[in-house]
């Protein structure tokens, strides 16, 4: 079996080589030893770790938070839970923001739709200081 070089795993994971190097620089994954001759090759653990990272990103965690999660591996569930609770409350707060925004935009747009004078716009009016 041929050793897995960086481009192999990039292809396998469908991410950019540069992204892998970026994770290495960030300390999210270990950079494999560079052999006396030849290129570095990447063990299974690195692949798994990157998959972990990508899944956590889909859950909305930042790379810093993921680093935290990774270090919490084999640590009390309570700590992981706390981080997730925190993230959940941030998500809820952001949703509330967006809901306010949605409401405001809907109201403005409904005014526009009722407006038959195309030369002035209720949205512009609402933004204009009195």
């Amino acid at each position: 079996m041929s050793p897995r070089t960086i481009s192999k795993i990039a292809k396998e994971l469908e991410i950019n080589i540069e992204t892998i190097r970026f994770y290495e620089r960030k300390g999210l994954i270990d950079q494999p030893e560079k052999p006396a001759q030849g290129y570095r090759h990447y063990p299974d653990e690195t692949l798994d770790r990157i998959r972990f990272i990508k899944r956590a990103q889909e859950l909305g965690f930042t790379l810093d938070e993921i680093q935290n999660l990774l270090s919490l591996n084999d640590h009390p569930c309570g700590q992981v839970q706390a981080l997730a609770e925190y993230k959940l409350s941030a998500v809820k707060a952001k949703m509330a923001d967006l809901q306010r925004l949605d409401k405001a935009l809907e109201e403005l747009l409904s005014q526009c739709r009722r407006n038959d004078d195309d030369t002035h716009c209720p949205i512009i009016d609402s933004l204009q200081p009195k």
Copy 2:
């Protein structure tokens, strides 16, 4: 009445002086002429324009979009409306994203709460590649 220098309007609008300069560089507001001697002073229109910008930001528009909105002043309501519709759909999409996220986190957390073995964590497990 004393002329309004940049720090006066910054205080009045409760924003940073640097932010005003930043808007000038971005072309969102005009930089007043520099008088033969003394400092620039800022007319009412600039204040109003910055208030417009701030309100539009609260509606979730980016500075680029706001520049667009400002140029649409006195232009057909239809164009403004289109921009607002576009923004509204982006808001709804983002909300849907967050809702998925919220659901996923809630489910994981409820597994944590049901978990009485503090040495392993369902969240970590779920992120771990099989």
